[in-house]
C-alpha cells in the first residue's frame, strides 16, 4: 500500500533543483497540500464515482529516475501512431522526459527540460503558469504530481509559427517487473498567432499494474490555434488520472478531442479557461468501454471574459460491466456577458450491468448569456436495428453500423486524416470483437 509516509520518504530523496529555488518552492508547497488533502475518497464530491483511493491499496513504485536505456526505439514502435515518420515525437518513460528517444524537428517548436526552461529564457513563463491547474483541481492527486515535478518538459511554440507536423507525445510505462506509478508533467506555451496539433498517447509494457498521474498545462496566446487529441487505448492493467488544463489568455481557438477506448480506471480532467474576450473552444469526447473498465470525464469550461463560445459534446458506449462518469461544469463569471456555452453528453448502454453517471453543472453569474446542456442514457435504437435487418443486414453488422454511425460525429472531429483513420480502425476492431 502506498501511504503518505511512502511518498514523504520519496519526496525527501528528491534532489534540489538548480533553478534558483522556483521549482523547489512549488514542490514543497504541493507536497504540503498533498499531505493535508491525501488521496481523495468517494466522499470527495469530484471523486464520488471514481474510486481512485482503491488504487493506492496496491503497491506501486514511483521511480526516482528515468530508466534510461531500458526502452529502445523498437519498444516504442508498438505505441507509435500513424504518420510518426513525419511527426515530432516527445517521449516520456515512466513519467520522465526521454531526450534520447524524442525527436523534435519542426521549426518554431521547442521542447526542453522544464528545469532548464525555468533557468533560462522561459523563466517568467514557467513561474507564471506552472501549477495553474491547481486553482481548479483542489485534490491530493493533482498536488501529488506537482510535488514530484521532475523530468518534466516545457514546450514552446514560437510566435506566428504554424507547426507543420503534429507533436506526438508518448507516455510509456515500463511495468515489466513491478507496478509503476508515473507522473508525467508538461507545460506548453502556444505563442501569438501560432498553430499546433498535439496528440497524446499512452502505452504500457508488461503486465504489472501501471498508474499514470499526468498533468499537462497549456497556455494559448492571442490569435493562436491549438488542436489537442488524447487517445487512450491501453490495457486493463493500466490506470490513469490524466489532466489537460488549457488557459486561453488571448483571443484564440482550441479544439480538444478525447478518445478513450480501453484501460482499467481512467479519469480525465479537461479544463478550458476562457480568459480573454472572443475565445472559442470545442471539446469532444468518445468513450467505448467494456470488461470492468471505468471511464470518468470531468470537464470544466470557465468563461471569465465576455463574448466567448464553447461547444462540448461527449458520447459514450458502455458494454459488459463497464462504468462511466461524465461531469461537465460550465462557469460563467460576472464579467462574461454574451457567453455562448453548449454542452451535451449522450450514452448508449449495451449491457444490463454497464452503467453511467452523468451530471451537467452550470454556474452562471452573468445575465446576458446563452447556455444549454443535456444528457441522455439509452439503449441502441431498436427501430433502427429492425430497419437495417429488414434490408438483409445481419443483426451483428446492423449493430456495428449503428454504433459506428453514433460515433461518427466525434470521429469527424479528429482532423489529421491518418489519425482519424487509425481511430476508426480501432473502433471497428473493437466493435467486431465486443459484439461477436
Amino acid at each position: 500500500m502506498n501511504t503518505i509516509a511512502y511518498f514523504k520518504e520519496r519526496f525527501d530523496q528528491l534532489q534540489p533543483s538548480d533553478d534558483q529555488g522556483g521549482l523547489d518552492r512549488l514542490r514543497e508547497h504541493a507536497f504540503k497540500a498533498f499531505s493535508n488533502m491525501g488521496i481523495p475518497g468517494t466522499k470527495h464530491e469530484e471523486w464520488k464515482y471514481t474510486r481512485v483511493a482503491g488504487l493506492f491499496n496496491k503497491e506501486f513504485q514511483l521511480p526516482a529516475d528515468p530508466l534510461t536505456g531500458s526502452i529502445s526505439s523498437a519498444d516504442l514502435d508498438k505505441f507509435r501512431l500513424p504518420g510518426h515518420a513525419l511527426a515530432n515525437e516527445l517521449v516520456f518513460i515512466n513519467g520522465f522526459y526521454s531526450f534520447s528517444l524524442s525527436r523534435i524537428h519542426s521549426p518554431g517548436l521547442d521542447v526542453i527540460a522544464l528545469e532548464e526552461a525555468a533557468n533560462n529564457g522561459y523563466h517568467d513563463l514557467v513561474t507564471q503558469w506552472l501549477g495553474d491547474s491547481s486553482l481548479y483541481l483542489k485534490d491530493g492527486i493533482n498536488a501529488l504530481n506537482t510535488a514530484f515535478v521532475h523530468g518534466a518538459v516545457f514546450i514552446h511554440v514560437a510566435k506566428g509559427q504554424h507547426i507543420e507536423h503534429p507533436l506526438y507525445i508518448y507516455h510509456v510505462t515500463d511495468a515489466r517487473s513491478v507496478n509503476i506509478l508515473s507522473q508525467p508533467r508538461s507545460l506548453m506555451f502556444v505563442n501569438e498567432q501560432a498553430q499546433v496539433q498535439v496528440v497524446e498517447n499512452y502505452g504500457t509494457l508488461g503486465t504489472n499494474e501501471s498508474f499514470t498521474n499526468q498533468v499537462m498545462e497549456i497556455i494559448v496566446e492571442n490569435g493562436a490555434r491549438l488542436e489537442y487529441y488524447k487517445i487512450q487505448n491501453d490495457g486493463s492493467n493500466t490506470n490513469q488520472v490524466s489532466t489537460t488544463h488549457i488557459r486561453q489568455i488571448g483571443k484564440s481557438f482550441t479544439h480538444a478531442v478525447t478518445i478513450s477506448l480501453n484501460g482499467g480506471l481512467v479519469r480525465n480532467n479537461l479544463n478550458v479557461i476562457l480568459d480573454a474576450k472572443n475565445c472559442e473552444a470545442h471539446l469532444y469526447g468518445l468513450y467505448f468501454q467494456s470488461g470492468h473498465s471505468h471511464i470518468d470525464n470531468h470537464t470544466i469550461v470557465d468563461n471569465i471574459k465576455p463574448n466567448c463560445l464553447s461547444n462540448e459534446l461527449y458520447k459514450g458506449i458502455l458494454n459488459d460491466n463497464a462504468t462511466g462518469v461524465f461531469n461537465g461544469k460550465i462557469f460563467v463569471r460576472q464579467l462574461a456577458q454574451k457567453t455562448n456555452a453548449y454542452q451535451s453528453n449522450k450514452n448508449i448502454l449495451l449491457s444490463d450491468s454497464s452503467s453511467v453517471n452523468t451530471k451537467p453543472q452550470l454556474e452562471i453569474f452573468a445575465d446576458d448569456v446563452k447556455c444549454t446542456h443535456g444528457c441522455t442514457v439509452g439503449r441502441l435504437n431498436e427501430e433502427g436495428l429492425f430497419y437495417l435487418q429488414s434490408r438483409g443486414i445481419s443483426e451483428k453488422t446492423a449493430r456495428n453500423l449503428l454504433l459506428s454511425a453514433y460515433a461518427s460525429d466525434i470521429l469527424e472531429q479528429v482532423k489529421p486524416e491518418a489519425l482519424r483513420v487509425y481511430v476508426e480502425k480501432l473502433i471497428n476492431h473493437r466493435l467486431e470483437k465486443d459484439l461477436s
Binding site: 427501430e383 430497419y387 429488414s390 434490408r391 446492423a398 454511425a405 453514433y406
Partner: protein
C-alpha cells in the same frame, strides 16, 4: 408465392390479427385496405419480422419456406421487402454505404460474391434514374432530414437495388402530396415483373389510381372481411368504411 393461413398475432398482450388468410401469386398486385386500427400495419410488420409483435397462431409460407421461422434479415434475403411507413433516420450512416452493405449481405446469403465498386455504381445509377432520386440525397446520412417524399423515394430506391420477390408497401402514400405519390408510384410500377409481387397496404384509394391492384382486400378487426377486383377500392372510396363496419357488426359483436 405467399400463403397466409389463419394468422393470429398481437402486440403487448393485445390481439390485433384474428385469422388472416391470403394467397399471393407471382406477378400479382394485392391491396389491403381498411380503416385505422384494422391491423394493416400489424400485418406488414408481422410479415417483415418485427420482434415486438407476437404470432399466436397460423402459418405463413413464402416461396416454400416457413417465413415466421426466419429472422428479419433472412426474410429479406429470401426476397421479402418492407417499405416502411416511417423510414428510420440514422444520423452518421451514409446512405450509399448502407445500401452497399445490404446488397452484399443479400449476395452473401445467396452464395454470390460481393459486387465490385464499379458494378455497384453502375447498378446504382440505373436504379437512381428508374426511381428518380438524386445523388446528393444518397450521399447524406440515411433519411436524416429527408422530406416525407424523399424518404419514400429512398424506400423505393432500396427496393430497386435489393430486387425483392415480394414488396410490401406500408402506407407508402401517407404524408405525401399528389406529385410525390405519382413519382413514388411510377418507381414502383417500373419494378413490376412477371415473377415478383407487390402487397400495397393503404388507407386511401388514391394510391391505387397509380399502382393498380389485381385484387383488393378489406381488413377489419384483424380479418379480411371482403375481397374483390380493383373496383372494390372505388366502392370503398365512395361509400366509406362504414358499410363494411355495418355489414360486420353482427359478426364482431
Amino acid at each position: 408465392m405467399l400463403t397466409i393461413q389463419n394468422l393470429h398475432a398481437g402486440i403487448e398482450g393485445k390481439k390485433i390479427l384474428n385469422g388472416i388468410n391470403l394467397e399471393i401469386k407471382p406477378g400479382e398486385v394485392h391491396a389491403i385496405m381498411g380503416p385505422n386500427g384494422s391491423g394493416k400495419s400489424t400485418l406488414a410488420s408481422v410479415l417483415a419480422g418485427r420482434s415486438d409483435y407476437e404470432v399466436l397462431e397460423g402459418t405463413v409460407e413464402f416461396l416454400g419456406k416457413d417465413l415466421l421461422g426466419l429472422s428479419p434479415e433472412h426474410r429479406a434475403a429470401e426476397g421479402l421487402f418492407l417499405a416502411f411507413q416511417y423510414p428510420v433516420e440514422i444520423p452518421g450512416l451514409n446512405t450509399v454505404n448502407f445500401i452497399k452493405t445490404a446488397v452484399n449481405e443479400l449476395r452473401k446469403y445467396r452464395g454470390e460474391a460481393p459486387l465490385d465498386a464499379v458494378t455497384f455504381l453502375k447498378r446504382m445509377k440505373e436504379k437512381m434514374a428508374l426511381v428518380n432520386i438524386e445523388q446528393t440525397l444518397l450521399s447524406r446520412s440515411l433519411n436524416e432530414g429527408f422530406s416525407g417524399g424523399e424518404k419514400k423515394r429512398n424506400e423505393v430506391f432500396q427496393m430497386a437495388m435489393l430486387e425483392p420477390r415480394l414488396a410490401i408497401l406500408d402506407e407508402t402514400d401517407s404524408g405525401l402530396d399528389i406529385d410525390a405519390i405519382r413519382i413514388v408510384s411510377n418507381g414502383v410500377n417500373k419494378l413490376r415483373k412477371k415473377d415478383n409481387a407487390i402487397l400495397v397496404v393503404t388507407h386511401y384509394q388514391r394510391l391505387l389510381d397509380y399502382i393498380v391492384p389485381d385484387y383488393v382486400h378489406v381488413l377489419y378487426n384483424g380479418r379480411i372481411v371482403k375481397s374483390g377486383p380493383k373496383e372494390l377500392a372505388l366502392e370503398l372510396e365512395e361509400r366509406g368504411y362504414d358499410f363494411i363496419k355495418n355489414e360486420n357488426t353482427v359478426e364482431v359483436a
